[in-house]
Symmetry: C2
Subunit: 354 residues, 2 copies
């Protein structure tokens, strides 16, 4: 049963110190799945999406957690998402690649299908690429890169092409929101603690943080957004009133966003639902024995863990390990949600009779 | 003939306002090629490397320009590089990929071979990957990603595995130099002005800037390096005295560096000369007609060029266009070198009898 969270805020990147509620995982999944079913999603898709969102919360990635059910239900109600769509694999045309047609539905099962099918072919033929088109939000993409890496693949996932509907980030040197947040995720088998996974927006923050921060009444980190006049701000409302997110690392994040738009729109064609995705999978075992790879990876990752921390840091982290450690620690505790977020979700469930 | 440069500093990222000399391109290439030949490099390799370095200077990428001949000659003299090595394509083993063996020599012709061969196969089969091992410095890798993109490929080039010899960058949250600068380059066909190309170190600056800045007596940008105690510094000497470069974009640049080390060392095996490289090439025409791709790219890139600039910026740039514009503008003028850099190069030539 849900209750006040005494360790509130510890595992969250969100700048939010208001009251939190601990919700058991099964209860969170059941609540979200019921809302999705009441919104018209088939039961198996509702269950998969609810499980994915709960996992993101457990991993400390609140921006892509349970709160997203509010967005998905709204998008299904408005017709932005086709709730009853089922993703399908489209066979390759001559000289082309198989691709995944999301059918205009929620992108989480569609991304799983694209990543699994690319990994299958990579393990068979050495390398594979899949386009994912006509799918809505794909959840926490790091979860999918990790899934491919657990099977021995290097996975590269690039999202873009949605800028006409998602003018979120300013180009480096510009003051107008023109680009989406263009996420990338890479996963690769690691050392003794599992795959290394990175998953980032090329903008300073993902769009999800702004929604989460606004819903929770929190601020966004300094240096992340500008208001409509190009002035720095920490208020998510300034962003929603014509502001923009800044690119991460200046020219680097901007350059990666430009590449993602060219890959996912100019190359893959117009993004009809949200954005398009390119999924690349490479069989790492074609270059050397997995045991040697694991040993060399562990040696390198151990060096990083042992690095003396800079002032203000407790330790150096290996990408992917924090999420797994948080998942393991949080699983028996439950999901910690800002009180306001949980209230919004319950109000929605009541409204839908879920 | 070389002469004082009246437009000194305009086209350089280097924080250097000392006197500069304009050197005609053919003269710079002849001088560099002569030094390389006198250092034991075969004439055709000397010519290719000298041309590559001159092109980097023309493109405004001084850190990877003519100044590098000092490093290459020193590395040949010390035995770090095998001057007489010739890169060769090694046929694929069963279930593997062909790869390029740099033979311990300079990496510029070896990278050209890897990128060209990957692009050949990608245009034939849809996608290809090549490892490049046992090669020294590969010059300005953006030049190679651009070369593949001009043929219609999406190219992804990742360098790493050299951290045991190149402890340059601190991990995010750490204060010790553990990682190399782990460069990435991506190129893709663009709009009417040619390919979009990004080329960056995952550290705040490339190692080359520190060498260039030290040689020219210049400072490095604020926020780029820490000294041996973890304190911010702008003095390249602080870096060479036990300091570190910071990762670009914090966790993003650090995460990409970790991936590059895992790809290029754990997956590709130990880097025996400098670092290893993974080159991926994908035929973009398998997803749609090149004419449609170009049209959609141009529409997107034009939006970016038209973005109102932020305070302190003259305009928003499209990645790859500045280098090409500088090349075209500088070609008839010549290469602008800091007086001290040119003096060092000429002194080396005299010492070698080149």
């Amino acid at each position: 049963m849900a209750g006040a969270d005494p360790a509130a805020g510890v595992a969250s990147k969100l700048d939010f110190d208001g009251p939190r509620i601990l919700v058991p995982v099964a209860e969170a999944i059941a609540l979200v799945a019921a809302i999705l079913r009441a919104s018209g999603f088939p039961a198996d898709i509702a269950q998969e999406v609810a499980g994915h969102l709960a996992d993101a919360d457990l991993c400390g990635v609140e921006s892509h957690g349970t709160i997203r059910v509010l967005q998905y239900a709204e998008q299904a109600a408005s017709g932005y998402l086709r709730a009853d769509a089922v993703a399908r694999l489209v066979p390759a045309a001559e000289r082309g690649w198989p691709w995944v047609d999301g059918g205009g539905g929620i992108g989480i099962p569609a991304m799983r299908l694209a990543v699994d099918d690319a990994t299958d072919q990579a393990l068979r033929d050495g390398i594979a690429v899949r386009a994912l088109r006509e799918a809505g939000h794909t959840g926490r993409i790091g979860a999918f890169a990790e899934r491919a890496a657990e099977r021995g693949a290097l996975a590269i996932v690039i999202g873009g092409g949605g800028r006409k509907n998602w003018r979120q980030a300013a180009p480096h040197g510009g003051r107008k929101a023109l680009l989406p947040t263009n996420p990338y995720s890479l996963g690769i088998p690691g050392g003794d603690r599992g795959p290394a996974v990175i998953d980032f927006a090329t903008s300073m923050i993902a769009g999800g943080w702004l929604h989460s921060a606004r819903a929770a009444g929190a601020l966004v980190p300094a240096g992340a957004i500008i208001d409509s006049e190009g002035r720095p701000s920490r208020d998510p409302a300034a962003y929603f009133a014509g502001g923009a997110i800044l690119p991460k690392g200046g020219p680097m994040g901007y350059g990666m966003a430009v590449m993602a738009e060219l890959v996912c729109e100019a190359m893959l064609g117009p993004a009809t639902t949200e954005c398009n995705w390119l999924v690349l999978a490479l069989d790492t075992s074609r270059f050397g024995a997995p045991a040697r790879m694991r040993e060399m990876a562990e040696e390198m990752l151990a060096e990083l863990r042992d690095c003396p921390p800079a002032p203000g840091f407790a330790r150096v982290e290996v990408p992917g390990e924090r999420e797994r450690a948080l998942r393991a620690a949080n699983l028996p505790r439950g999901i910690s949600l800002p009180e306001r977020t949980l209230a919004s979700i319950r109000a929605l469930a009541a409204r839908l009779g879920a």
